[in-house]
């Protein structure tokens, strides 16, 4: 094994393998507990004031907390594929004073970037530890799967992990139960719909991009691969090493290419799924009928708007203020405004359809608008600090755009 990296040697662009120093953290956290160790070190040394993590209730239930308590951070360790919250939603002016750090899957990270553009958080003070993500699951689907496929009760479960394309449940009697995700998805179970066509699996837009892809066999389950994406990320790691919370070594070529390979396979699968789900509906009348039918059961509860991490309007929002059910003959103004506002910015995180009580596959609807518009403007929300094209003051600001634009010039 190569030598331990000294904290001061860590710089942007480094690709490393790391783990927590503490035995306890290693056993609790996924893949050697590096992320937990980095967060704990940041709090312990006062590098950040607070950390935003999920507080675990059970394997299927957790809620976000801001905490300055290292113990709470340690307890949050481990992956939670069945609690698909988007933590970015909780970063707002009321909660974002001082420096904070949070673990974030790619869609959380994209939401942080978009929220920073809308001035609800300060990017300098927000440290984002990105986590690779192959997909998450709706807790209700997980219960269904446990009952129908695994034949297990939720109370028997001790933990879960996604390993080599299989969803594995660990039960309290020490056994492992693995089923290929493809088989689950063939039956309409498995990952959330939006995860199946998600286009970002490695959070290269975060400060650190961490995950277990590219960890060599002898370290499997005991180490985390981490790529240092920004200077802020390097600071976080240096701090963890100096404080004696984490140990790091350089990753080897084999690991680096293995990680790229997993990423490519995952992205390829998403791309295929995306083409299937978003097959064009050529006839305009049929398209309208599709949207109208999908929205037929909407009860206008507003949950989809309240949960959306790129919507930062709060209570006073245009989509709700002017919409009246009395005028919603064929479609409501609420949905039309949301379709427009999210056409350049929807990151496809799937939060809206997770919470919709009418079980409308909403992310598909938003993405129907987002896919062509984001392609036209060559804009990928949450992946750079470029101003969203809808906020441009002049058409020239969007000149990086395909197509002819307005016909009247």
């Amino acid at each position: 094994m190569s030598e331990l990296k000294a904290g001061s040697d860590i710089k942007v662009g480094d690709k490393l393998l790391g783990w927590a120093v503490s035995e306890d953290v290693r056993s609790r956290g996924a893949s050697g507990g590096l992320v937990t160790a980095v967060l704990a070190a940041a709090l312990e040394t006062g590098f950040v004031e607070r950390v935003l993590v999920l507080k675990r209730v059970s394997e299927f239930e957790a809620y976000p907390v801001f905490t300055s308590d290292v113990k709470e951070v340690l307890e949050s360790a481990g992956s939670m594929h069945s609690v698909p919250v988007n933590l970015a939603r909780y970063l707002k002016p009321e909660t974002c004073s001082g420096k904070i750090a949070l673990p974030a899957k790619p869609c959380d990270t994209r939401a942080v970037v978009e929220r920073a553009k809308r001035n609800v958080l300060s990017p300098e003070n927000t440290y984002v530890i990105g986590l690779n993500c192959g997909g998450t699951m709706h807790p209700e689907t997980v219960r269904k799967m446990l009952e129908a496929v695994y034949r297990l009760g939720p109370e028997e479960i001790e933990g879960e992990e996604i390993l080599k394309g299989k969803l594995v449940f660990f039960t309290k009697d020490g056994k492992e139960h693995a089923v290929p995700i493809d088989d689950l998805e063939a039956e309409g179970l498995g990952r959330r719909d939006s995860c199946r066509y998600c286009q970002v699996k490695v959070p290269k837009n975060a400060d650190l991009a961490c995950g277990n892809w590219g960890v060599p066999g002898d370290l499997a389950g005991k180490g985390t691969f981490v790529e240092v994406m920004t200077e802020k990320g390097a600071e976080l790691l240096r701090n963890a090493v100096h404080a004696g919370f984490a140990e790091l070594i350089s990753a080897d070529e084999k690991g680096i290419s293995a990680r790229e390979k997993v990423n490519k396979v995952m992205l390829g699968m998403s791309e295929k799924r995306k083409a299937e789900v978003f097959a064009p509906i050529e006839n305009g009348g049929e398209r309208f009928e599709y949207f109208r039918k999908e929205l037929e059961n909407c009860i206008h509860c507003g949950a989809c708007k309240a949960v959306c991490p790129v919507c930062t309007c709060g209570e006073d929002s245009k989509c709700t203020a002017y919409s009246s059910l009395a005028d919603s003959y064929r479609m409501s103004l609420f949905h039309m405004v949301r379709f427009l506002h999210l056409s350049d910015s929807c990151i496809g995180c799937g939060q809206c359809e997770d919470v919709c009580p009418a079980e409308i596959l909403l992310t598909r609807l938003y993405q129907r608008f987002a896919v062509p518009i984001q392609k036209e403007y060559r804009y990928i929300p949450g992946m750079s600090d470029r101003t969203p094209p809808f906020f441009a003051l002049k058409p020239e600001d969007n000149e990086d755009k395909e197509g002819s634009g307005c016909s009247c010039r």
């Binding site: 006839n283 305009g284 005028d327 064929r330 427009l340 809808f390 058409p395 307005c406």
Partner: protein, 148 residues
Amino acid sequence: MKPEKNEIPEAWEPKIVMFCCNWCSYAGADGAGIGRFQQPASMRIIRVMCSSRVDPVHVFSAFLEGADAVLITGCHLGDCHYINGNEKTLVKFNFMRSMLKELGLEEERLQLNWISASEGEKFSEVVRAVTEQVRQLGPSILKPEGVA
């Protein structure tokens, strides 16, 4: 399922909501009237101080309440009374048009044109041309039932 093609009744006249900016196109409308240029009575004109005052909410509301098309007009680029309001209009217009197209509306149902205060004749030409285009398309799919 393919929705039936809307029957276009013989005497059907489209209803078009037209936004005119105070400084150019509304004056253009006056010019058209003074010059006695003929034009169909299809427009419902709403005067706004600047074309960029037209919010997507206004456009969508017009459609939801029965407009067959929406026509936004303003000063020529470079002539905006508020320096560059019409450039912002253009950005928003492109977005609204893509979005409405994706929703299933024909592109011609949302239009943008620049008409200056001296272009009375152009004003009536634009009104005639847009009305004719919309007449060919028939009533909009967003039109509530029972609204003529």
